[in-house]
């Protein structure tokens, strides 16, 4: 039991802080701080800066760019990156398909895909979710039929985030429709988004953004060599991937940034001659939320310390559940501080409504997704009740 970081970890923290606040372009970090949308180029540039410094995929196997850090160091890396408003490495590349290829791919696949995946020479998107599947992945309907040395893929995916930027897709498809258990008979295929027969339709979300897409496959021909792992064993790969999704998911530093912004804005608004931040109810709301974020942060540190074997600690579900709730609470706080200005979301630059107030409600609405995507909070409660409490 020790409060302080070890001297090594303290030094590591300072090294990370120094790097993130100097090496990543200020314009990118300003865009993140203002909660504006990053361009594709900004995202690629940022990750390449990280990758050049060996900071894009530290959790990968060392031979493919990993750093062999302790879980606490990975936590510090992530938190300092977020605190510095550096966009984290693209999850589809760094957290999802990269580790999957490293674990399940053959040597040729590793050599072909891992370096460009780390460096964003390939932008990946996910082909997991389907319209009628939701959290029930085993009921997927997209099919891949073997035809000589090719697979022919037909079907539809949805919730494909940033698919409009993607070069390649990793796609779960049913390869054995006769399998008795629905989880059997699923395989993971990789193919370029410009393969004939792939079409993409953007889905507008309730905040007006277009970050997710539907993807349609019509007789898409995929070389057999693009199968990852064994045929009909995709379910295990999917579980591995989704498990990784839950590691270190608590967006602590992002929430803290939002809270700091909220406090600053509240201090600048005057109500009845006093700063809004002096309002006792608002101050109490902020203090309560900060305390919950502290508890989340400390829990994240406790959980990462117990995740050393690489498998997600069951309490990771606490981080996902509470992390998204607090993220949503922080975005809601900003809407309320914006007050009457919070409706003016699409005012132009000549508006007297400040930019942070304009973005407040769309961001609040957008983050309603946080408790749905990536394993909904209902899924997390199921995991806690089942895996931890044995219910």
């Amino acid at each position: 039991m020790r409060l302080q970081l070890s001297p090594e970890d303290q030094a590591f923290r300072e090294e990370m802080r120094a790097f993130f606040t100097s090496a990543v372009p200020q314009s990118i970090r300003d865009t993140v701080a203002a909660r504006r949308e990053l361009t594709k180029d900004q995202l690629v540039e940022s990750q390449r800066v990280l990758n050049a410094a060996g900071l894009a995929v530290p959790h990968w196997p060392v031979e493919w760019g990993g750093r062999g850090w302790t879980p606490l160091q990975r936590h510090i890396w992530h938190e300092e990156m977020m605190a510095a408003c550096v966009p984290p490495p693209l999850a589809f590349n760094a957290t999802m398909i990269g580790p999957v290829i490293a674990a399940f791919g053959n040597q040729q696949q590793k050599e072909r895909f891992l370096p460009p995946t780390a460096n964003m020479d390939i932008w990946w998107c996910q082909g997991f979710s389907e319209p009628d599947a939701g959290s029930d992945l085993a009921s997927l309907r997209t099919t891949a039929v073997r035809d000589g040395d090719h697979w022919v893929v037909n079907g539809q995916k949805t919730w494909t985030t940033l698919g409009q930027y993607a070069d390649w897709i990793f796609c779960l498809a049913r390869t054995d429709p006769t399998a008795e258990k629905r989880q059997r008979g699923i395989s993971l295929l990789l193919f370029p988004m410009d393969t004939p027969g792939v079409t993409l339709r953007p889905i507008e979300l309730i905040d007006g953004g277009r970050e997710v897409n539907e993807v349609f496959f019509e007789d898409v021909v995929v070389p057999a060599e693009n199968l990852v792992g064994e045929e009909n064993q995709g379910w295990g790969i999917a579980k591995f991937l989704l498990g990784n999704e839950r590691v270190g998911v608590a967006p602590v530093a992002m929430i803290k940034r939002l809270m700091a912004q909220a406090k600053q804005h509240a201090a600048e608004i005057t109500v009845g001659g006093a700063p809004l931040s002096a309002d006792p109810l608002l101050a109490a709301r902020i203090a309560e939320l900060e305390n919950e974020v502290l508890a989340l942060e400390l829990t994240a540190i406790r959980v990462v310390a117990n995740s050393a074997d690489g498998k997600p600690h069951p309490a990771s579900s606490v981080l996902k559940l509470r992390g998204t709730e607090l993220q949503q609470a922080a975005t809601e706080l900003l809407v309320d501080i914006a007050g009457p200005a919070s409706v003016a979301s699409f005012a132009g630059e000549d508006s007297d409504v400040p930019g942070w107030a304009r973005v407040a409600t769309p961001s609040y609405l957008n983050y309603r997704k946080a408790s749905i995507y990536g394993g909904s909070n209902e899924v997390q409660r199921t995991i806690i009740a089942g895996s931890i409490l044995g219910l």
Binding site: L276, D279, A344, S345, R368, I372, S376
Partner: protein, 377 residues
């Protein structure tokens, strides 16, 4: 105390519901809100033909001489289909101020035209940095040889770009007064934009803009504005009730039909219990908002009743708005599906004239001044 509608009120509800179902029964809302002015002028005209736009005005002013209960019925039907027409903004709030305070000539000129649908007024009151106060903050009025000129910025002004006439609050020597400004007045600059919920607001800048004093009394209008805002808060409460009810029924319907893991979602008790809690929130809010309308009708303590309605509605609409999306899952996040629009609109209503914590602060300040709350008193 009696909470049921009489036959005429039921007929009004059915007529308005029918009109709005034709206008917004399908996907029309997204199309209508995609272009300025963010509502359908034809639907506005039909509402005028039905007499809805003159409901609260005196018959002598060209209105229907109906009361807050009739207004509440319209607001609730608007909320039910999320009709983007500025009924509360133009009729209840801006029209209400003219009706309350206007001279005979002003009432004659404005209210009949509002009722006919030929003139849409807006209340330009909120200023950059203001926070739901009833007084003006920095927009000033100066007298210039018997006529008035306004200077300063109002923003956001709901429906401020489309409006034909602005009712504007402005400071004169520390007092807040109200003025009428024509949409085509010189020195008036309006920049409209889309709100997150698809409705429109505007930045409205005055630069020595000619204006007419509303009414002929010289006193401070802060109390009158507060009362008009309170009535609008109650009306927004009804709009929220309609929206919450649709959000809940849509969610219930989804739970009954959507399948996961081989069964419909209503087999998952954790989900149905949450829907039950949404119903509890809705019904409790409904009681409070209906009561507040009756307080308006009886001309009781309208400001306090509106605060109570607003607090209850704020809590309920956040609860229901969030859960409606969550219980839908991903589909609830999409603009093509309707439930997220309800959440967006409920969020806007909550922040238009004071949110729940704002109302709570006001109620808390007076909590030691009485022993118990007696709604029958």
């Amino acid at each position: 105390m009696e909470f049921s509608y009489d036959d005429e009120q039921v007929a009004l509800r059915e007529a308005v519901a029918g009109l709005l179902a034709r206008a917004y029964g399908g996907d029309q809302r997204r199309e209508v809100t995609a272009t300025d002015p963010g509502f359908d002028e034809k639907t506005w005209g039909r509402l005028a033909e039905m007499g809805v736009l003159g409901l609260p005005f005196a018959e002598s002013d060209g209105g229907m001489g109906a009361g807050p209960v009739e207004v509440s019925i319209v607001a609730e039907e608007i909320g039910r289909v999320l009709a983007p027409e500025p009924f509360i903004e133009a009729v209840v709030l801006a029209g209400g101020l003219v009706s309350d305070l206007g001279t005979d000539a002003q009432r004659a000129e404005v209210l009949g035209a509002v009722a006919e649908g030929s003139l849409i007024p807006a209340f330009a009151h909120t200023e950059p940095g203001s926070r739901w106060e009833p007084a003006a903050l920095a927009v000033t009025a100066t007298e210039d040889g018997g006529s008035w000129r306004l200077t300063g910025v109002k923003e956001p002004v709901p429906n401020g770009a489309r409006a034909d006439l602005l009712v504007v609050s402005a400071l004169v020597g520390g007092a807040t007064r109200l003025y009428l400004v024509q949409g085509d007045a010189e020195g008036l600059t309006r920049t409209g934009y889309r709100n997150h919920d698809g409705t429109r607001s505007a930045k409205v800048a005055f630069d020595g803009t000619p204006a007419q004093l509303l009414g002929d009394a010289a006193g401070d209008r802060t109390a009158a504005i507060e009362k008009a805002l309170a009535r609008a808060r109650v009306a927004y409460g009804h709009e929220a009730l309609g929206a919450m009810e649709t959000a809940l029924t849509t969610t219930s319907e989804y739970l009954k039909t959507r399948k996961q893991f081989g069964v419909t979602l209503n087999k998952f008790q954790a989900l149905t219990f949450r829907a039950a809690d949404m119903y509890v929130s809705l019904e409790l809010a409904r009681s409070t908002v209906m009561w507040a309308t009756l307080v308006v009708d009886a001309d009781g303590d309208v400001v306090a009743a509106a605060d109570r309605a607003r607090l209850q509605t704020s809590r309920a609409s956040r609860h229901i708005g969030k859960e409606a999306i969550q219980l839908h899952g991903g589909i609830g996040m999409t603009a093509e599906y309707k439930v997220g629009h309800y959440t967006s609109r409920l969020t806007a209503i909550d922040h238009l004239l004071g949110d729940g914590d704002w109302a709570l602060s006001r109620l808390a300040a007076g909590v030691t001044e009485y022993e118990t709350v007696d709604p029958l008193a």
